[in-house]
């Protein structure tokens, strides 16, 4: 493998890792704090992309579109939590799987009904198009670098919020022992809404950044959801640090696997890696609940 290809594929891998982290952060926090397995997390990713495409096309301004899409996805997340999913925190995992599976069907079909079956397109502003030379003679798309940068920035911000603010302290307390945190006066209901809508916004952010690269279409969230679940499981459900480490690892393994391995093996390599890691540590790399 030539040095330029190595650099390029490493960037691709870290970029995929950054996207996966944005997805897995919400999944892992929602499970860690509310004990809810949310299969509909991929629908929020899809909604982020659709909202961004619709708002950008309506306003003609990409940045306004992005801001509106993030707000709208967070709002959908908050509504979902308040109106439906909070009733399922104390229910069995089977019921959680069922209700979020039903939500996927509903979200997919409503999107198809409203936006039509054809994939949407939305244009990037000129600043974000084109490419730069990352090495002499090796161009790389600017937008992919932006995705990478945003992902790492959000990861750093999440780290600061969770480790160094009062809200973050409550979230950590809620994740490690919810009844005790509630007994000590943490407003758990507020934490629930905050975590769920923040997780939704992060999924929406991942979706709207993937939109211009892939296609904005119904069902686009499901493949990413599966990868994010793999990340969550490897990292240890509930652990942000685990989600970050696992997201980067899966991003790189998947990218290099597809380049270096035969197609069938390349498509399966992350699942094989997952199985191997779980044989070694069944609770993931950074287990939260001792």
């Amino acid at each position: 493998m030539s040095p330029s290809l190595l650099v390029e594929q490493t960037l691709n891998g870290v970029q995929l890792g950054a996207m996966l982290f944005l997805m897995a952060a919400g999944l892992t926090l929602v499970f860690g704090i509310m004990n809810l397995i949310n299969l509909a997390h991929g629908s929020l990713y899809m909604l982020g992309a659709y909202f961004a495409a619709a708002a950008t096309n309506a306003t003609g301004n990409f940045w306004l579109g992005v801001a509106l899409a993030l707000a709208a996805t967070a709002l959908v997340g908050a509504a979902l939590e308040r109106l439906l999913l909070r009733r399922f925190y104390a229910r069995s995992h089977l019921h959680q799987v069922l209700v979020t599976f039903g939500l996927i069907l509903v979200f997919n079909e409503m999107t198809r009904l409203i936006a039509g079956p054809a994939p949407l397109k939305f244009a990037l502003p000129d600043v974000l198009t084109g490419s730069v030379n990352i090495m002499p003679g090796v161009p790389y798309p600017v937008f992919r670098l932006v995705i990478l940068g945003v992902g790492l920035l959000v990861a750093a911000m999440l780290y600061l919020v969770i480790q160094h603010t009062r809200l973050g302290m409550w979230i950590r307390a809620g994740a490690s022992d919810r009844p005790m945190a509630a007994a000590m006066g943490v407003d758990v209901e507020l934490i629930f809404v905050a975590v769920f809508s923040a997780g939704a916004a992060l999924a929406g952010l991942a979706g709207l950044m993937a939109g211009p690269v892939l296609a904005v279409q119904v069902g686009m969230g499901e493949p990413v959801l599966i990868l994010a679940l793999v990340v969550t499981v490897i990292g240890g459900v509930g652990s942000m640090k685990g989600a970050f480490v696992a997201a980067m690892a899966i991003g790189l393994i998947d990218t290099f696997g597809r380049v270096l391995l035969p197609p069938a093996l390349g498509a399966m390599i992350i699942f094989i890696a997952m199985a191997a890691i779980l044989l070694w540590r069944p609770q993931g790399l950074f287990p939260v609940h001792g």
Binding site: I37, S92, L98, G102, L103, E109, A264, A275
Partner: protein
């Protein structure tokens, strides 16, 4: 907290009667469909019987073993692909693989169906052994990931059509019967389904089934009395995977076509919905759930192409209002994640 595990067969004749009634009701379908001149209903009934078999197989792990598997569609697809690929190689006149393990292709279902069952048992035992090291939410997510692993495996098989699927090129043959003749093939599937259901009823009522149900309620206690619960759960998972692959093989015969779409993870979710619709605590419930599911799907899709919207709402309602006693065990099983 835990109720004692009693032999399920407190009233064995009742469960047996219900099974007989379900099989008899299914058996009436072809003459009725022909009498009202709606022969396409036989095709719908064919799907119902095959999915009833798959859902009943899933329920051995889901309902009786408390293992929420989201990878059973992969076993279904695996069974279908075994039948299709063997027929593909017979028509091509080459062999599958090389060396001493090379298999000659065949279009005889009497050969390929047992091989589908064996493949289902082997793959479910292998992947189950990895997945069963975990419990609760980890188990759900891992089975989901394994489902996609097998899905992508078959998507990558360009020889067998990749993403587009594989049209079975030759005429299949089941001991002289062409599966394309719908009515006789329907009765063959029904007979296999009936035998499987009676077999599952016996398994659940046996000591093996008691250990399985005991492990669902309190695995630690089962281990403490000296029973290796892991082996029982793995054996149940393998039986379940093998029967699901059998259903997939029968489907390949009925449709003459296989595709990775049949093994997507949403199909796994649908199988779980079938089981929950019919009830998890009987052997025959999932068969009724499969019938309800497919009839609902068929009915709604006649009215609107957007049938998944009302269908999703129904699934949400089922999740919101289904009985809490089912929830109790799963919470206990899952809480230790």
């Amino acid at each position: 907290m835990d109720e004692p595990v009693r032999p399920r067969t407190a009233c064995p004749s009742r469960d047996g009667l219900v099974i007989a009634a379900i099989v008899a009701a299914f058996a009436c379908l072809p003459p009725v469909a022909n009498a009202i001149d709606q022969p396409f209903l036989i095709r719908v009934g064919q799907r119902v019987v095959i999915f009833a078999l798959a859902a009943s197989a899933l329920n051995l792990t889901l309902g009786f073993g408390g293992m929420i598997s989201l990878m059973h569609a992969a076993f279904f697809g695996l069974g279908a692909y075994v039948v299709a690929i063997l027929s593909f190689h017979e028509v091509n006149g080459d062999s599958l693989g090389t060396g001493p393990l090379a298999l000659v292709g065949t279009s005889h279902l009497a050969l390929s169906l047992p091989l589908a069952v064996a493949a289902g048992a082997a793959v479910s035992a292998l992947l189950g052994a990895a997945a069963l090291r975990t419990t609760g939410v980890y188990f759900i997510m891992i089975t989901l990931a394994f489902n996609q692993m097998l899905f992508y495996y078959f998507v990558a098989q360009q020889t067998y059509g990749g993403e587009d699927g594989l049209q079975i090129p030759g005429a299949l043959d089941l001991a002289g019967l062409d599966p394309a003749r719908r009515t006789p093939y329907f009765y063959v599937c029904l007979a296999i389904f009936a035998v499987a259901l009676v077999g599952l009823q016996r398994v659940v009522g046996s000591r093996f089934g008691m250990v399985l149900r005991g492990a669902k309620q309190n695995e630690r206690r089962v281990i403490t009395v000296g029973v290796p619960a892991f082996r029982y759960k793995l054996a149940a998972f393998a039986i379940s995977g093998a029967l699901t692959a059998l259903a997939g093989g029968l489907m390949a015969g009925a449709e003459q076509f296989v595709s990775p779409a049949e093994m997507s993870w949403s199909r796994s979710g649908e199988l779980v919905v079938m089981c929950v619709l019919g009830g998890l605590d009987t052997v025959w419930g999932p068969a009724l759930g499969a019938a309800a599911f497919l009839i609902l799907e068929f009915g709604l899709s006649n009215y609107t192409t957007h049938w998944q919207l009302p269908f999703g709402l129904i699934v949400i309602a089922v999740a919101a209002f289904s009985r809490e006693d089912v929830a109790a065990w799963a919470r206990r099983a899952g809480w230790r994640a």
